[in-house]
């Protein structure tokens, strides 16, 4: 019994760290530009495929890791600029377009890479023992990288001038424009950071689990559950919610089996919506 509990806590903490990256990216671009990016999960998956491609081309895994982050970050900016920015006022269409992009990317990845799972090569080897449970070092490193990235994000948003501009743009677009902030550039930067967070999550995830094109939609659902619990638009809320959802998810997988995960996620979402519709840190719309 205790060993199962340790397993849930240890592995749950690690996946929670990764989901925190993904969810904070999703909530960031929503909070700032009011864009619900249904292609966010696809960026998560794409990073693993881009990374693998660089490794197969002969790049060192560390270099491939960084290159993949940049490529996916820029890709996020490109899809934002081409497909989302022109129709930002048509909220229904933004949802439909980003969902279409997600499904299109899933099909394109399926046709180019097939359905078999891929994994990014481990950046570190070895095993550490925690409470009698052997844990691969790469998982612990993944958690550390995730935590560092989240601290950097917090610092960037709250302490730097650019971060304050992002905050300003998210609070009032017109006023931000009036005080001389180039809102469109701020949105593009935000999208870059958002995609970067998804990509980092994807690369860390793919060192631990196999990634298939179908993971895109699944990761999106986890992100939904997290942001609904944390409150749409709140980064701090989604980080805390990630850990709650991560433990629920890990407990489900260990106790019931992976095929129950989406069903439990839905029940979690519904339970949250009944009890606390605006989430833990939600801002009233």
């Amino acid at each position: 019994m205790l060993d199962i509990l340790i397993k849930i806590v240890v592995f749950g903490t690690i996946v929670s760290g990764i989901w925190a990256l993904v969810a904070s990216g999703f909530t960031l671009i929503f909070g700032v530009a009011r864009i619900l990016n249904f292609a966010h999960g696809s960026l998560f998956v794409l990073s693993a495929y881009v990374g693998i491609t660089f490794v197969r081309l002969g790049f060192n895994p560390y270099v491939a890791f960084v290159l993949s982050l940049l490529v996916v970050g820029l890709f996020g900016v490109v899809i934002y600029r081409l497909f989302m920015a022109p129709i930002r006022e048509h909220e229904v269409m933004v949802i439909i377009v980003s969902l279409s992009i997600a499904l299109l990317m899933e099909q394109a990845l399926l046709l180019s890479f097939g359905e078999t799972g891929i994994s990014f090569p481990s950046l570190v080897k070895g095993i550490v023992e925690i409470g009698g449970l052997p844990v691969p070092t790469k998982r612990i490193i993944a958690l550390f990288i995730a935590i560092i990235a989240l601290i950097l994000l917090e610092y960037f948003i709250n302490r730097t001038i650019t971060g304050k501009k992002i905050n300003a743009a998210s609070q009032d677009m017109q006023m931000a424009t009036l005080v001389g902030i180039e809102v469109e550039r701020i949105f593009m930067l935000t999208m870059f950071i958002s995609a970067l967070l998804a990509a980092l999550g994807g690369l860390l995830y793919s060192q631990i689990f196999a990634i298939t094109p179908h993971v895109a939609v699944k990761s999106l659902i986890y992100a939904f559950a997290i942001v609904i619990l944390g409150g749409l638009g709140s980064i701090r809320g989604s980080i805390i919610a990630s850990f709650i959802v991560g433990y629920i998810l890990m407990a489900t997988i260990i106790l019931l089996g992976a095929r129950w995960s989406e069903l439990i996620m839905l029940l979690t979402i519904i339970a949250i919506l009944i009890v606390k519709p605006s989430g833990l840190f939600g801002v009233e719309e």
């Binding site: 497909f83 909220e91 949802i95 046709l111 939609v217 749409l232 989406e262 719309e285």
Partner: protein, 328 residues
């Protein structure tokens, strides 16, 4: 005058649809019959999204619930060993289709009751999750739902004995469903739907109980989606997870966006041409393209790309976009 022209056009098109089987090979008659049933799905999506402005991304859930309800009512032996094993009769087909609609509406009520109270994006987020959950249920309880392959309900439970017969029944179901939905949205009820689409706060200020009317629209929408799903099962005699799946959802969205959101007629026309295009010639064309050029492409990619292009150049939909351009 406008109403007279509309009625005339509908009569002419209906007459055309009724004589069509005489001149077409059986395979096409079968496909067009299925297209009629698809039109119900597109129109019912339009009732919710086009008239109240709430983005429902889980419409296929109601299609699938209707489909599996009807299918399981015809094959009650699949329910042995579950809490529903007391169900043992095969209801008449018409009743099984209506029950499919009612169960779908019931699910719609539960989902709508929880999410439609909330302003903003919760409805879209939750409905987007739904199809995957219902697909998962098909795998978890595969003894009942038949897993990935689905299951057959037996030739005896088809809408009619011949393909032409099924075609006519499908047309009748579509015609009646669309007329009912049309009458509903043209009634004072539909006016309230549109009021809350245009400005929810203003509608509230004018004394409209927005949550209640969103819920009513969602009930109508999910009921007819269930009818459509159940009718499709009785048409093709198989139930399968494809009826829950996202490609069908995107096809419904595409049809309505092309035809014009909030017009009903547009969804009928859009649904007819998009579904036929997808199932008739698109695959062949793409097979040829991918053989010659070796590009990773399939019919789904093309449909998604079309949807993206339309959304960017005509974000109000093809019908409204072109109408606006002409008026300028």
């Amino acid at each position: 005058m406008k109403a007279v022209i509309t009625v005339l056009v509908v009569l002419i098109l209906s007459a055309l649809a009724l004589v069509l089987p005489e001149y077409l090979p059986e395979a096409f008659v079968y496909l067009i019959g299925l297209t009629f049933l698809f039109i119900i799905l597109a129109v019912s999506w339009d009732v919710m999204v086009g008239y109240t402005g709430q983005v429902n991304l889980g419409h296929t859930v109601f299609v699938g619930v209707g489909a599996y309800t009807a299918a399981l009512l015809q094959t009650p032996e699949r329910l042995q060993g579950t809490v529903l094993e007391f169900i043992s009769t095969n209801p008449p087909i018409l009743l099984s289709i209506i029950l499919g609609g009612l169960i779908a509406a019931l699910i719609g009520f539960v989902i709508g009751f929880i999410t439609l109270r909330l302003k903003g994006y919760y409805f879209a987020l939750v409905t987007a999750v739904l199809p995957l959950v219902f697909i998962e249920s098909v795998y978890i309880w595969s003894d009942v739902f038949g897993g990935e392959e689905g299951f057959s309900i037996g030739l005896g439970n088809a809408l009619a004995d011949t393909t032409t017969g099924k075609y006519y029944v499908a047309f009748a179901i579509m015609f009646i469903s669309v007329v009912i939905m049309l009458l509903l949205v043209k009634s004072p009820l539909g006016l309230k739907f549109r009021a809350l689409r245009e400005d929810q706060e203003l509608a509230e200020a004018a004394g409209i109980d927005t949550v209640r009317y969103k819920l009513i629209a969602f009930l109508i929408s999910s009921f007819f989606a269930g009818i459509g799903g159940a009718a499709i099962v009785h048409y093709r005699i198989t139930a399968g997870p494809d009826l829950y799946n996202i490609p069908l959802m995107l096809l419904i969205i595409l049809s309505t966006v092309v035809g014009g959101l909030g017009t009903i007629y547009g969804s009928v026309i859009g649904g007819f041409f998009i579904y036929l295009a997808k199932n008739w010639w698109l695959r062949e064309v793409i097979d040829r393209i991918s053989k010659v050029y070796h590009v990773p492409i399939n019919d789904e990619i093309i449909l998604y790309a079309i949807l993206i292009v339309i959304a960017i150049f005509l974000p109000e939909g093809v019908y409204h976009g072109i109408k606006k351009k002409i008026q300028k």
